[in-house]
């Protein structure tokens, strides 16, 4: 099952801050600029032994038996260019190969075939604070980190003050990192990264760090880097970020480039891809027959009348349900509950069942089709529909059916927000002149 879509709709605060600060500039892709990164026919596969031998003893024992491997093609013939000064997004689902690509760019893995060419110095930030040794002081760590990034020890030492100032940790320079709070650690890590002064930055999932004022500082620093013409490659799951500040983006799936180009298009494609599999598991997963009544089918339709399992944000929901009765029954009602991924009931709707002539009797063998159109203010995420059928009139035999999760579907979209719905709204802010006292 895919990640809970609910999570993907909550933007990380820093992402937003950065996105906002960068969205101010016009995102015209600097396609005229010289290349910063050139990737040609890149291939990488991993050999996963079916039986892992991790001791010399075992290796000796099995010396003459062949070793079996499962070949996993993580990247298959990937080629793309990134220009200098470009903000380039890489998106893809878990296991799509995007992390492998990042590690190849960062010289952590070696490619099986193909070439990577890069202009200038690269600073990879696969994870914040990596390479920090908690047994060492901030001073030692910052210098060590700088040298790892390719600075000389004296250059790294010169930058120490700037790093500490940015991280607001001047007083703790000689404190071992193991005594740092997690917030201090993250601030130091972020500051170290920003001070690396590389030409190309590889960033895996910009991280939400620090309090609001520190976030603002980070956002400013990012904007400055962008203004300075740094090339930034960002791997993220956050489509709002991609749309807000990437010049171009690339969608990777199964080790291949699925789509490369306009960020909006990529974001939409990504969400579609992400949710297809998640929704594919949909189906009626609890009892479908109750006393005298059976739920035959339940599905959603798109605008063209085709069955679908995912709906774009703000597009109306067309719900179709079919039921049949076991014996002649009158005065039936159907009811539905729309619930979100957390199980919270969001909306209830229903109707009595009537024939075209106004009578309410349903005969066995007749199919009752319930056609519903719902307005869709739902936030992106996964939703469930529970269905129930019962008799509302007096007399006759009892009929009842309650099907939990008769249907589940996904709402996808790029408009991320906190909350369960996105309501249409008008909003404005007015600044009034200062009052005189």
């Amino acid at each position: 099952m895919a990640d809970p879509p609910a999570a993907s709709s909550t933007a990380m605060p820093v992402d937003n801050a950065i996105a906002n600060s960068l969205a101010n500039g016009s995102p015209t892709p600097p396609s005229e600029a010289p290349l910063a990164i050139q990737v040609e026919n890149l291939k990488k596969s991993f050999r996963i032994p079916t039986h892992r031998i991790d001791s010399l003893k075992e290796r000796t024992v099995r010396m003459f038996s062949g070793r079996e491997f499962r070949e996993l093609q993580a990247l298959d013939d990937v080629s793309f260019d990134i220009h200098q000064g470009e903000f380039f997004g890489i998106v893809g689902r878990n296991g799509s190969g995007k992390s492998t690509l990042l590690k190849l760019l960062a010289s952590i893995y070696r490619a099986d075939a193909g070439t990577i060419r890069m202009a200038g110095r690269l600073a990879p930030f696969i994870e914040l604070g990596v390479g920090f040794n908690v047994e060492l002081t901030a001073r030692e760590n910052v210098v060590l980190n700088g040298v790892m990034m390719g600075l000389t020890p004296s250059e790294a030492g010169d930058r120490l003050d700037a790093v500490l100032e940015f991280a607001e940790l001047e007083e703790f320079v000689d404190l071992k990192l193991k005594n740092y709070s997690s917030g201090m650690l993250v601030r130091l890590a972020f500051a170290t990264m920003l001070q690396a002064d590389a030409d190309v930055l590889l960033i895996d999932e910009v991280l939400a760090v620090g309090d609001a004022s520190f976030q603002q500082k980070c956002a400013d620093a990012f904007r400055r880097m962008k203004d300075e013409g740094k090339t930034i490659v960002l791997v993220t799951h956050e489509m709002a970020t991609v749309e807000a500040y990437c010049h171009r983006a690339m969608l990777i799936s199964d080790g291949k480039i699925q789509l490369l180009g306009d960020p909006e298009e990529i974001a939409e494609q990504y969400l579609r891809l992400n949710f297809e599999d998640g929704a594919a598991s949909s189906g009626i997963d609890s009892k479908t027959s109750g006393d005298g009544v059976r739920l035959l089918d339940a599905w959603l339709e798109d605008e063209a009348g085709e069955r679908t399992t995912s709906i774009e944000q703000a597009k109306p929901i067309h719900l179709q349900v079919e039921i049949e009765v076991a014996r002649e029954t009158a005065d039936l009602s159907v009811g539905f509950i729309l619930a979100n991924a957390e199980g919270l009931g969001m909306f209830q709707f229903g109707t009595p069942i009537e024939n075209e002539d106004g009578s309410s009797t349903v005969h066995p063998g007749q199919r009752v089709r319930i056609d519903t159109t719902l307005e869709n203010p739902l936030a992106p995420g996964r939703y469930f529909i529970h269905a129930g059928v019962q008799r509302h009139g007096a007399g006759g035999e009892d009929v009842s059916l309650y099907t939990h999760n008769a249907l589940d579907f996904l709402v996808f979209g790029t408009q991320s927000s906190r909350g369960v719905v996105s309501l249409a709204h008008e909003i404005k802010a007015v600044v009034s002149p200062p009052e005189e006292k």
Binding site: L56, R59, S107, Y109, L144
Partner: protein, 283 residues
């Protein structure tokens, strides 16, 4: 923008390797990691450096007691106490460096999997840390040697050379062990046992002349550490004792040790270089 113009030429990224990323950066990193680790280990605690001295000195005291009062090998050997002390300090370096190297690459998993840098730095920094420790210990040893009444001689100038040989061998073994451990976790246990065996096979506790059987002496001299230790003992403390060549009967019998020395170094470099690009994937 000038920085952009400078950066305009594309260079191929070849992935991780033992040495990649420029010579200057390699040595900067090596030095920095060696020094910080040394400082951390020896100056991080209250008694700091004293602890690192206590260990070889305790071993020295125990062995001195055993070999002069009980086994009595020591009583027949001139300057036995200082000979023993020097041997212990030198062998401790070899053992400490190689033992710590075994797990060094795996212990640094975080940076290996997440950052780019020359992989070779890790085991070599471990060796460097141990080497700093050795240099400090040697000061104490030479104070003892002089206090014992050994006269300084010109052959002391050869000592740094033999020290260099030990350091090179230690580095090669460390490279080999650290990279093998990534794939084979029983390397740690095997090396603990082998290290013990080597300790008794190297003339630390006894001079080679104690063995009266020449075939046995020749066999002992296959161990590359044996002739090095024997020569150090001659050059520094007992200039009148026989050289390795004369113990074996002829310099020809030292060829296996020399070949083995070169072979170990070559193998260490080769296997580390071969496996370095893949370390991040194997972890």
């Amino acid at each position: 923008m000038s920085s952009l113009e400078q950066a305009a030429d594309l260079r191929e990224v070849r992935g991780p390797s033992a040495l990649g990323g420029g010579r200057r950066r390699f040595f900067d990193l090596l030095w920095l990691m060696g020094v910080t680790e040394f400082k951390r280990t020896y100056f991080g605690t209250v008694l700091g450096y004293l602890w690192s001295l206590v260990r070889p000195l305790m071993l020295f005291a125990v062995l001195l007691f055993v070999f002069t009062k009980i086994v009595r090998i020591g009583s027949d050997t001139p300057n036995y106490p200082v000979l023993l002390l020097l041997g212990i300090v030198l062998f401790s370096f070899f053992q400490e460096a190689t033992q710590n190297s075994v797990t060094s690459v795996v212990a640094q998993e975080g940076i290996v999997r997440k950052t780019q840098f020359p992989r070779l730095v890790i085991p070599l920094a471990t060796v460097l840390t141990a080497f700093f420790n050795l240099l400090l210990n040697l000061i104490v040893v030479f104070v003892f040697v002089l206090a014992w009444g050994v006269d300084p001689s010109w052959t002391w100038l050869l000592f740094p050379f033999s020290l260099g040989l030990i350091a090179v061998l230690t580095a090669a073994v460390s490279m080999m062990l650290s990279v093998l451990y990534v794939r084979f976790r029983d390397v740690a246990i095997i090396w603990t046992v082998l290290g013990q065996v080597l300790f008794y096979m190297t003339p630390v506790l006894y001079p080679l002349t104690v063995l009266e059987n020449q075939t046995l002496q020749r066999l002992m001299l296959v161990n590359p550490l044996a002739p090095i230790f024997n020569e150090i003992q001659r050059w520094v403390i007992n200039p009148d004792e026989p050289s390795s060549a004369s113990i074996a009967g002829s310099a020809v019998y030292l060829i296996p040790a020399a070949v083995l020395f070169v072979a170990i170094c070559a193998f260490g470099v080769w296997i580390f270089n071969r496996d370095a690009p893949k370390i991040a994937e194997e972890l």
